[in-house]
């Protein structure tokens, strides 16, 4: 059941010649005709265990919409690759069902799923040239030679490697290999493309460039992309939605901004961006806000995102850039802090303080001309709004 033999949802528009490709430019959106927007995927209470003792993936429920760019983000060993492998068909699910376009695929072998895949080490076949690598998926589908060549050319142009068809993968740089891997995963018009840390081996600059290009290709083609990374910046900049994994469980599934602004628990808050943690006990809960008594006795007004009610333990989480030193207006929370360390970072200054017994309390101060002089050892007031500090971690 190959996507393009079943009437392919997505095709190269053969009518448009490469005249549309201006010199060195990417293939324009008009060259690809997105009939529908990729495949939809559904994990229905999927579990996975390798050894029969521990669950690597615990009760995974996940709906991925057509054409969505979904990123699985999480620390090492959290089960991201395992999920991807189950979707690609290389690992059987221990329990539950995976659906591709509403069809259960648990019993479909990998080569019949028609899912494109980009591997972390690219897995370009070393004994084949770039063009042969790209021809491989077309050959196994018995495509006519002329069409093969046309598609290979389009795909190579798309990743700006038109002149490299004759080279062996070993003769390419890391970034070029990565693009070939992307082109190979796309050349047979899959509706769904899986990428397992595809940029992990690249340096920072190249990685940012490739992030942009993959994003661009996704927008042009409309395929569904499931992307795995443990780089949170990558996840935030590329995705429509991010699924934060930890310990085989999705901790939060939401858009990047929600993830950052409204983390559901302190793992997410900690994992996405920088975060200050203060632990204490809920003393009062009144609709919009709650009061939290920190362990050193300080009282805070916080946003009750995920707590159990008065008397329960909680972790208050707040972003370093939302805190003001010596606040001029009157935020809900103002406490004393002692400056432990100043780190000059150009556009801002990181101030490490001791606040409410936590000496890893970070405040980011923008480097403005009118900034007030501060120095290590000073005791200053710090303040923040109640809506910026989230009371998290309901303990059952």
């Amino acid at each position: 059941m190959y996507p393009f033999t079943t009437g392919g949802d997505l095709r190269f528009d053969a009518g448009v010649g490469h005249a549309a490709v201006s010199a060195g430019a990417r293939v324009q959106k008009s060259e690809w005709t997105a009939i529908s927007r990729g495949a939809s995927v559904k994990f229905d209470s999927v579990q996975k265990s390798y050894d029969g003792e521990t669950l690597v993936v615990k009760d995974l429920n996940l709906d991925i919409a057509r054409g969505e760019f979904l990123t699985m983000l999480g620390p090492s060993g959290s089960g991201k690759t395992t999920c991807l492998m189950m979707l690609a068909g290389f690992e059987p699910a221990t329990h539950g069902e995976i659906y591709l376009n509403d069809d259960g695929i648990n019993n479909v072998p990998p080569h019949k799923r028609g899912i494109g895949m980009v591997f972390q080490n690219y897995a370009l076949f070393p004994h084949m040239s770039v063009a042969e690598n790209l021809a491989f998926p077309l050959q196994v589908r018995g495509m006519a030679r002329a069409e093969q060549e046309q598609r290979i050319k389009r795909a190579l142009d798309m990743v700006e490697l038109g002149a490299f068809g004759g080279r062996r993968p070993a003769q390419l740089s890391g970034g070029q290999q990565q693009r070939v891997a992307v082109a190979r995963a796309l050349v047979f018009d899959p509706e769904l493309v899986l990428m397992d840390e595809p940029l992990g081996a690249l340096d920072k600059q190249l990685r940012e460039q490739m992030q942009y290009e993959i994003k661009h290709i996704h927008e042009n083609l409309g395929v569904t992309i499931v992307y795995v990374t443990h780089d949170q910046t990558e996840a935030l900049t590329m995705s429509d939605r991010v699924a934060v994994f930890n310990d085989g469980v999705i901790q939060q599934l939401s858009s990047p901004d929600t993830l950052y602004e409204s983390p559901q628990n302190s793992f997410v808050a900690q994992f996405i961006g920088e975060n200050n943690k203060l632990s204490g006990e809920v003393v009062a809960l009144d609709g919009a806000n709650c009061e939290v008594r920190l362990d050193d006795g300080t009282l805070l007004v916080a946003d009750p995102v995920n707590i159990n009610g008065a008397g329960s333990r909680t972790t208050v989480s707040l972003r370093p850039e939302r805190i003001e030193l010596a606040p001029s207006d009157e935020p809900e929370n103002v406490v004393d802090g002692k400056i432990e360390e100043l780190i000059y970072l150009g556009d801002h200054i990181r101030v490490r303080m001791n606040v409410a017994g936590n000496d890893e309390f970070i405040v980011k101060v923008r480097n403005r001309r009118d900034k007030r002089p501060i120095s290590e050892g000073d005791t200053v007031k710090v303040g923040w709004a109640a809506s910026d500090c989230k009371a998290l971690d309901a303990v059952a």
Partner: protein, 429 residues
């Protein structure tokens, strides 16, 4: 131009030569610095080099030399060789009296030194009966008076001396170098009419070379067929089980070759374990017991067993380096299990196959003990004949010629392999 420019700041002098700080040209000081390095590395490899020269290169050179060397005739009967030079074998006449007189003189000395029989055996390789002729003549020559006519005296001793062919052979083999051994080694001989193939029933070596080649190929092939799945299994098992299996693979190395070969004898002979079993399960009847030893089958079975590790080890080490993600990638691109194996996995194992096949083939082509023990007559290799000529018939020249041809054959096959697969496409790990 200031003097400062000349001396310190500018390494390039007026003549355009780059100089080191002390004024010597940079190239020369670099060479001097490197010479010491080179000398040191040379000293490090010197012992090995000496060993290789003494134990490998010199014996091979000696072998090459022996395969054409033929000083024995000239050294033993120098006068005869000299006088025989003017005799024309095609004339149909026997050599004249001077030659017989020279032979008498030469033999007197040779008999004294007891070297005439060696000449006899040498010439016997070319024409049978020569050994006896010289032994007999040697006995008689002592009692002969130093008076002519020698021709009649010699013919009296043995009428072979009146045979033109005897003299023709002596003359043909009197030069210090001879192609005779090589001709012998390819079942040809030097006759009055030039190089000719030996009579059908005397030919043996070409057939042996051919058999050695074919059987070595068959052994290589069966090693590959048996070893490939094992290598695959080894490289895909978790480390613990792989190590255990590896020990089993290496087990043959730990038992004596002779013990193993004898074990094969016990198993494969007609009254042996395997035949007994086959009779017991009624697959064959008692009269139809299979002949699996003392023939080619025995040689192939036993040598495949012995050489299998040499195939498995390079295969395993190459397969181990092939990431499983290649096959996964192939499958995700739509290839069936077989296509993924054949088009993606297998080509990447070719260097291992090449290394293993070369190793097994080269070892097989020169193998000697196993064919000797389990090969019977139909399963012996060319090396068995070489060994026979070295230790039994003492025809070292022929053994050397056979060895040289074997060496050339292997080199030619290497060349062909290089042409087809590429020698850099061989990986031992």
């Amino acid at each position: 131009m200031s003097s400062a420019t000349d001396t310190s700041t500018d390494a390039i002098a007026g003549d355009g030569i780059v100089r080191a700080a002390d004024g010597t040209p940079l190239k020369r000081s670099l060479a001097r610095a490197l010479r010491r390095e080179k000398l040191r590395s040379f000293l490090l490899i010197a012992p090995l080099l000496a060993f290789v020269v003494i134990s490998f290169l010199m014996p091979i050179a000696d072998m090459l030399f022996r395969s054409v060397e033929n000083n024995i005739v000239e050294d033993t009967i120098p006068e005869t060789v000299q006088t025989l030079a003017s005799w024309d074998a095609d004339s149909g006449d026997l050599p004249d009296e001077r030659v017989y007189a020279a032979l008498f003189q030469d033999l007197q000395i040779a008999v004294e030194q007891r070297i005439h029989t060696r000449l006899g055996s040498r010439l016997n390789y070319e024409k049978s009966g020569m050994s006896g002729l010289f032994r007999k003549t040697g006995r008689e020559v002592r009692r002969m008076e130093a008076e002519g006519p020698f021709k009649e005296r010699f013919i009296e001793i043995d009428e072979d001396w009146a045979d033109i062919e005897v003299w023709a052979v002596i003359k043909r083999y009197s030069p210090p170098y001879t192609p005779g051994y090589f001709l012998n080694a390819v079942d040809a001989e030097l006759t009055a009419e030039g190089v000719e193939m030996k009579p059908e029933n005397e030919r043996i070596y070409l057939m042996l070379f051919w058999r050695t080649l074919v059987m070595s190929l068959m052994i290589t092939l069966s090693c590959l067929l048996l070893g490939y799945p094992i290598g695959y299994l080894l490289s895909h098992l978790p480390a613990r089980s792989a190590n255990l299996l590896m020990i089993l693979v290496l087990l043959p190395f730990w038992t004596s070759l002779l013990v193993r070969t004898s074990a094969w004898k016990v198993l494969l002979q007609q009254q042996g374990v395997i035949n007994d079993f086959l009779v017991w399960i009624n697959l064959i009847d008692d009269a139809g017991r299979l002949v699996m030893i003392n023939n080619q089958t025995g040689t192939i079975i036993a040598m495949t067993h012995i050489l299998l590790p040499f195939m498995i080890l390079p295969l395993y080490s190459v397969m181990q380096t092939i990431s499983p993600s290649y096959v996964r990638a192939a499958k995700s691109l739509g290839a069936s299990d077989w296509t993924a194996f054949w088009r993606v996995y297998f080509p990447q194992t070719v260097p291992g196959i090449g290394a293993g096949a070369i190793l097994v083939f080269i070892l097989a082509i020169g193998y000697y003990i196993t064919p000797e023990l389990v090969g019977g007559t139909s399963g012996i290799f060319i090396s068995n004949r070489i060994a026979y000529h070295i230790s039994t018939s003492l025809n070292w020249g022929l053994a050397a010629a056979l060895g040289t041809i074997l060496l050339l054959l292997v080199m030619a096959l290497f060349y062909v392999y290089d042409r087809i697969v590429g020698i850099d496409n061989v990986k031992l790990g």
